[in-house]
Amino acid sequence: MLPLRSLFFSLIVLFVYSGYVQASTFESSTDQVKAQLIASVDAVHPGEEILVGVQERIIPHWHTYWINPGDSGLPTTIDYVLPTGSTVGGIQWPTPSRIILGPVTNYGYENEVILLSKLKVPDDIQTGSAFPIQAKVKWLVCDEICIPQKVDLALTLPVVLPSIASGNGSPLIKTAQTTLPTTSPWPYSIVKSENTLAIKVTDTQFKNSNIKNVWFYPEKWGKIVHNAEQPWKISGDTLELHLKSGDEPLATDENLSGILTLTIDGPNGSVTQGYQLAAPAIAIPTIGEIDTKAPDLVLSSALLLALLGGIVLNLMPCVFPVLSIKAIALIKHANHDPLENKLHGLAYTLGILVSFALLGTILIILKAGGAQIGWGFQFQSPLFVLGVAYLMFTVGLSLSGVFSIGVSVMGIGSSLANRSGYSGSFFTGVLATVVATPCTAPFMGAALGFALTQPPAILLAVFLSLGFGLALPYLTLSQWPSLQRRLPKPGVWMDRLKQGLAFPMYAAAVWLVWVLAQQAGINAVAIALGGMVVIAFSAWLYESTKTGIKSIQRSGAGVAGISLWLALIGSYLGIDTSPAAPISNVETSNTFEAYSPARLNELRAEGKPVFLNLTAAWCISCLVNEKVALSQESVIQAFNQADVTYLKGDWTNRDDEITQLLAEFGRSGVPLYVYYPGKNSALKSPIVLPQVLTPDLVIRTIKPSLMREKEV
């Protein structure tokens, strides 16, 4: 049966394809489509504008196509041949419907369609003469198979004096006009983000109307994915429809045009009405776009910024102790062979550079895999947070003198002659990198954000520059013995300083446990603290058995090692890393609301000013900014006065929506502060605030726009 059927259709294809149906009447038919040429008048006046059109009546299950046929197919074309001096406009396309064949979505017409065009009769045409209209019509008609067809239609109208009525023409013209989309009676906006477009239409009646279905038909191919779902919702007065960007996404300043259809349930069944939309998408200008204009300049300043940032990192509370240890070691051995000091400096630098190269490579691989990542993303893993907490605690213990490895810890006074001394320096570099990561974000946000949007080579260059900056102070110190001699003389103060420096490390560990609590719950805190007790025990046992006889030494180290492993494995198994477990620490309070893309879009569609704060519990500078600026009474008051909605997004845990928003601003990590001016403001685009906030700065950002809004 089936081969026969397909043979039958092949014959039709061959037949129709080889010989188009020729006709020269107002009506012409193929096996699938009956076409007729119609006009809005029975006679024409010189200089008059009339409507002409082609009606296609299509047999059941077959269809012809809209101007954008969707995933396949071709739109109907009408080529009018007219007396000289006549002009004809484009086709006025009626609202199409969707024809879905498996994963292929087409836009077209079933049963019947009338394609109208405006026609201007020449002014100089003789009354009493004939006005011939010829239309060469081509369409592709498909059910499961497709047949291209062509007909020639003709219609001749008499040219009459203006005093003589031109008649009513074909009644089909009026029918056709009811199928055309109307211009949208409502205000609407289109908002573009990386992979989606959102259409927002506002009307007070939406919430009471019985909207059953919403669909957007794009006029051009590639702007959206035709067969993707178009989720929609009504919140308040706003109808919001989400579209997935297609293969040829909307360019900057390019209009998204098409037909929005609403299907409304009424007393006589459901009615679908189409509304013509055309507007450029509101896109948030990204730093990335600016970068592409002057990549060299930005690259060099990113490298410089990274280098300076790296140097500043040495002063951070988490890095300073590590660096101090190195510096103290240097003071102790200032009188040793300068070559050895130099080699230590180089080993330390190498350790840092290798670690940064490794981090950069991991980011490159993650990026190539299509993952949404940003700087500081490591801290979104509770296991990583716990690992760093343990590390901070352990370093603290060794600074306090609870234990030391070999002669001492991390290369302090380690015998400079032996090789492990150099590897000690190397790993001190690695350690410095690891402890520096929580502090990189605040200083390095801009440079690392830039790096993450760049090709791998540039990304690595920025990372290595940052690493070199981190290594630079110690490296300089180690390379110039004259500088070493200017350092204070060694003495007991060095031990006291070292012990004192343990406390920032303990504080860092406490903070990390607090972060962990928000990511993995209260049980994780117990596990973390228990783990620390075991680590402290292991360290003490190791240290106190170290000076005994060999067997005690061995069993002490053995027991210490085993309990350490147990602590780590226990923590690994005990921490719930499932993404469902973490709870957001941002809950709507009376001063701020929790961020969601929908809420932001809604506020912006309403034209309300918005202050957006993207933060994370593990981001120290975020917390500082919130404390010293955003929670200040003066700032809260300014927000209230200017009717600014304060939205807070929490990136403590992995959140792709926030990562995407950060990327729109060319950032790869928090904090990010953005002020979106209201619609009455003279400012049109959002303002990105610096990563270090003061109350004054926030108020000044909001207030000028507030004043301008009042003037308008």
Binding site: L2, S6, F9, S10, V13, Y17, P69, D71, S72, G73, L74, L101, G102, P103, V104, N106, K138, L140, C142, E144, I145, C146, I147, P148, W221, G222, D247, E248, S355, L358, L359, I362, I365, L366, G369, G370, A371, F377, Q378, S381, L383, F384, G387, V388, L391, T394, I405, G406, V409, M410, S420, S423, G424, F427, V430, L431, V434, L568
Partner: protein, 207 residues
């Protein structure tokens, strides 16, 4: 002695564990690895895209009964492109995704005869009656093309030329995207028009 090495290593391995979480890219996206597939060819052999690493591969979705495919085969357009590509050392694979009972569904033997009859010389023809390769590449049209570079990265997706019509007379007037792509590949350039609009009949998936 081992402790101060152990900690950084634990941390680095923790970071490395992030690598394991990343998902494989399953959509055909330009400059991203092309989705991998294994399929049965018209000559009965099995084709695994991964085995073609090191060669440029062109996937051509086709359906010999589709008028748009007929346009480009009767005119000699696609057979010429195939000859040129194969001469350039490119692997040209036709893909027939038409489901059993639908237009264009053929056996391997018929597919080979059709090609012989049309003077078409693709490297091979993939029989994708269950639509798995078609859905993997989100193929919607016949004809439609995907080009994968020797590293397995997708470098082109789209149509054959710039004038969507079923008229052979338009071929000469149109910008031929595939011959432009072949020229770019031969010159070692990046394909200028990497994404174009495909036009033609819908791919006849099983409903």
């Amino acid at each position: 002695m081992f402790l101060h090495r152990f900690y950084p290593l634990t941390l680095l391995s923790l970071i490395l564990s992030f690598l394991a979480i990343t998902a494989v890219n399953a959509e055909p996206v330009i400059d991203k690895p092309a989705p991998l597939f294994t399929g049965t060819a018209a000559d009965g052999s099995t084709i695994n895209l991964a085995d073609l690493h090191g060669k440029t591969v062109i996937l051509e979705w086709t359906n010999h009964e589709c008028p748009f495919v007929v346009k480009h085969y009767e005119s000699g357009n696609i057979p010429n492109l195939q000859k040129q590509a194969v001469a350039q050392g490119i692997v040209w694979l036709q893909v027939i995704t038409s489901a059993p009972g639908k237009e264009g569904n053929v056996t391997g033997e018929v597919a080979q005869k059709l090609n012989a009859h049309r003077g078409a010389t693709p490297t091979n023809t993939l029989l994708d009656g269950n639509g798995s390769i078609g859905k993997l590449y989100r193929a919607t049209n016949t004809p439609q093309f995907f080009i994968i570079d020797p590293k397995g990265v997708l470098i082109y997706k789209g149509g054959i030329d710039s004038i969507p019509s079923a008229d052979q007379s338009d071929i000469g007037k149109a910008e031929n995207y595939i011959s432009a792509a072949l020229a770019d590949i031969a010159a070692g350039r990046k394909i200028a028009n990497a994404v174009t609009k495909p036009y033609g009949c819908s791919v006849k998936y099983a409903s």
